[in-house]
Assembly symmetry: C2
Homo-oligomer: 201 residues x 2
Amino acid sequence: MGDAVESAGWSDVEPDAARRLLEGAVEAFAERGYHATTTRDIAGRAGMSPAALYIHYKTKEELLYRISRYGHERAHEILARASAADGPPAERLRQAVHTFSRWHAEHHTTARVVQYEISSLSPEHYEEVLDLRRSIDRLLRGIIEDGVAAGDFSVDDVPGTALAVLSLCVDVARWFNVNGPRTPDEVGALYADLVRRMVGA
Amino acid sequence: MGDAVESAGWSDVEPDAARRLLEGAVEAFAERGYHATTTRDIAGRAGMSPAALYIHYKTKEELLYRISRYGHERAHEILARASAADGPPAERLRQAVHTFSRWHAEHHTTARVVQYEISSLSPEHYEEVLDLRRSIDRLLRGIIEDGVAAGDFSVDDVPGTALAVLSLCVDVARWFNVNGPRTPDEVGALYADLVRRMVGA
DNA sequence: ACGCGAGGTGAGCAAGCGCTTAGCCTCCGG
DNA sequence: CCGGAGGCTAAGCGCTTGCTCACCTCGCGT
């Protein structure tokens, strides 16, 4: 379930060089941050000269925008799938949190860029991405509302709890370490359990 | 209780100009990030010429280091106080989470720099700050261990839960908005309650 | 055989960066 | 009345940045 979402890298990006540049940019932005990354660094990681970048992308910011939009679309997809699934709210929430936090662990380089570099986007791109974030928030809040309405959850502050759950999952991207003791799937299981307790299910 | 910790700004910083520079740096780093902030910007916010910065600080990185260390010391102080307090583990955890998350909301500009710009520190300063983070982690884990040992909490994965709790509180700095619906104290109360549920108290 | 477009390069421009320097005020003890 | 230290600035140095441009090199349809 949802494996297609997980495995998808940037494999569908059109010319090979453009994909390598995107992958290099993700790595570099995640390591150093957007502003500390130079176009020479990105091009270098893709095995090309600095000028080659501008054949495939208009600006350095366009790279960040593509990464940011791609990541938000994946995140949205994960929650939309869990939200629309059959089964009781508790199960839908479990799946949502498990998959969402696992994605942030598994793709923590991409997720780090997606979550912590959005303020470097141009105003228009920033607004566009913010819209996606608002729908992500709405999807999760919807699941919790369903659980409360069904009498399965006991939550005092639904928007606040939804915000906290999202914040918890997103922050996985900041601390997750591949050489750490937990696999992405274990993080997903742990977090799903913690969130189950948070909503009193 | 703990108000002395909260209210403390940078009021104790020695020459007035040096304090204004620090405050300007906090604002600028929080808004734009360390690398996107120029020394001209910092000096401008303090109402001075760019050169004046170098009378009080050796480098731009020294400003980040001072901010980072100050913030981690405050965070450590908050948890140390809650950890050493009298009362059952549940009450100590409540106080720890309440105060800790409230601090991250109240001082979200400082906290944002403290939590999200540490990788821009020099290697030596980074190591020093990392030590402080490890002790902060140990303090929180200690409270949870006490609760488990006393039979008050039911937690399967203690280190994992401690990590999640810390992560949850820290991430407040990222999303907190002064014009939002919640006061820092309300965030503290909400989070203390969510964490109480997480540990099964 | 050959033109042409897509993809790539080396060199380099204008702007902005962190930081330094030379020199100017202002205050204050002797 | 003076001399020098502390606090500050205007100017600017050396370097790096994002990005451009003239040119090159292939693979391919005709």
